[in-house]
Amino acid sequence: MRYVIIGGSIAGISAAKAIRTKDSHAAVTVISGEPFGQYYRPLIPMLISGRKNESDILYPEDPLHAEGINRVVGSAIRVDTNTREVLLASGDRISYDRLLIATGGVALKPRIPGLDSTKAAFPLRNVIHAQKLRQHAASAASAVVIGGGLVGIKAALALREAGRPEGKAPMDVAVVEMLPEILNGRLDHDGAAAIRAAVEERGVDIHRNEQVKRLLSGSNGRSKVRLGSGGTVDADLIVVAAGVRPNIAFLRGSGIKTRRGVLVDETLLTNIPDVYAAGDVAEGVELLSGKRAVSGLWTNAQEMGRLAGLNMAGGNATYPGFLAVMNASEIAGIPFVSAGTIDTAGRGFDVAIGRENGKYWKLVKKGDFLVGVVLVGDISRAGLYVNLIKNRIPLKRDHDKVMRRMASYAQLQA
């Protein structure tokens, strides 16, 4: 049996490892579009800030080599599902019996006049982007981040921290967010507002309800952007963090059904026999809404990858779906966890909110089920709540304790 995996990041690696657990002899090939090697994508902002260097973000030991998995560096440009071949940009063809598409996402490119012609605008999706940003950050006096999502905010903070030649002040960094609040969809209004205040405290300017209209090239090599409201902001460097879309362009004509992402069923199989998809490229089912969605989260990609791998190797596991919101992070010194349904305004949920010493929590219940949690400042025992949501465990006598943010494992077992 020849297994081929396109994409060598967390979904692909998890799948390859899972295949190995069921089939120790099969030929497994991972086609990786990134020559750099196996690295932890969420760490790339730390290359910009200088907190980590390239070798720090690599896997401690090569997860593929250790398992006797073949890694081919190259870019898949076409999949022929009739002859069961993957065509690479190099012209090579790789035959498969079972195929996994784990090509993740690419940064969206908003249509902004001037963006195409500048040499100082980058997304932040892979190690090369981070290296470019780090390099430019050494000399830039200002940066504008387009988009105030998690990646945008992390990029902004990293640029503020970026290593500067001796004696040079940190650069001016602004985030331009179209919506009324940053971290849309990742935190509720109050949680996001608390994080925003801390980010601003670290010297990042945040423009909300605002858009970048065009890039202006200024005098003496300094550039600016024009905002929707009319003003301008200095922008020697631009980070494009306006979202991500699944990497599916190369599947055109393959017969593999796509919508936003590659459509998969609950076993992560596509419409084509023996062709699976997992991770940020897949369009599966969101657990709480039951609707189709693309996940965009590491933990989900890991889970999907593993499950797809098991099924490719003859298993029959089903995926109940992922939570569209399942975030943990620490931003500007404030830790937070959010999961499930977090935006509840006027939607008929039972909501409990607590505030204490700058900490904030919110718990959301529907009927007997916890469906959402937001913990900002104090994230202790977050997993108890997330587990109740993710595994749809009905609350029993413990309703009250859970909704008062006093859940304990002992209590839940009682």
């Binding site: 969420p42 593993r306 943990a328 977050a382 494992y409 002992a410």
Partner: protein, 160 residues
């Protein structure tokens, strides 16, 4: 892998295990130094008491460990004995493990901004919490390759 078993019916809630755990993870592994250490050493297990239960909640070093699966920086790993441990220097404080642990036993070190969890006192024959428990509510079962069910029976058959 040796496993720590918890027998809630024997737990008096004395918290000896918590203290022993914190001391074991202090710079100087004795109570007096640990009490004076700033910031204070952190415990890795938690005695929880509710209306009708009292029990230490301790890391299971799960076979399919949610914390390990969720780690996105290469910090958590399974060591040769089967324990889920940290490469401390790799933790970036993303808290994915805290979000993932259904037992709530991974914590955040507020000073170092890294995750803290049970390391099963991997250098000791008997974990500090087990050694400290006066009522044997915490016991170490040398699992070898016994099935889970057999291990449970051993625990149950131990004299009270």
């Amino acid at each position: 892998m040796d496993q720590i078993f918890v027998k809630p019916e024997k737990c008096m809630g004395c918290r000896s295990c918590e203290i022993a755990c914190a001391v074991q993870h202090a710079k100087d592994k004795n109570l007096f130094a640990a009490v004076l250490q700033t910031p204070p050493p952190m415990k890795r297990l938690f005695v929880e008491a509710s209306d009708n239960v009292r029990m230490p909640v301790v890391c299971r070093h799960c076979e399919d460990a949610p914390c390990l699966n969720a780690c996105l920086s290469g910090c958590l790993y399974r060591d040769q004995k089967g324990f889920v441990r940290r490469h401390k220097e790799r933790c970036i404080g993303c808290w994915s493990c805290i979000m993932a642990c259904p037992f709530g036993v991974v914590s955040r070190d507020p000073d170092k901004h890294i995750a803290v969890k049970c390391d099963r006192c991997h250098k000791l024959d008997t974990p500090a919490c087990v050694a400290a428990c006066p009522t044997r509510a915490l016991v170490l079962v040398e699992a070898g390759n016994l099935s889970k069910e057999k291990r449970r029976k051993i625990v149950l058959s131990e004299s009270p």
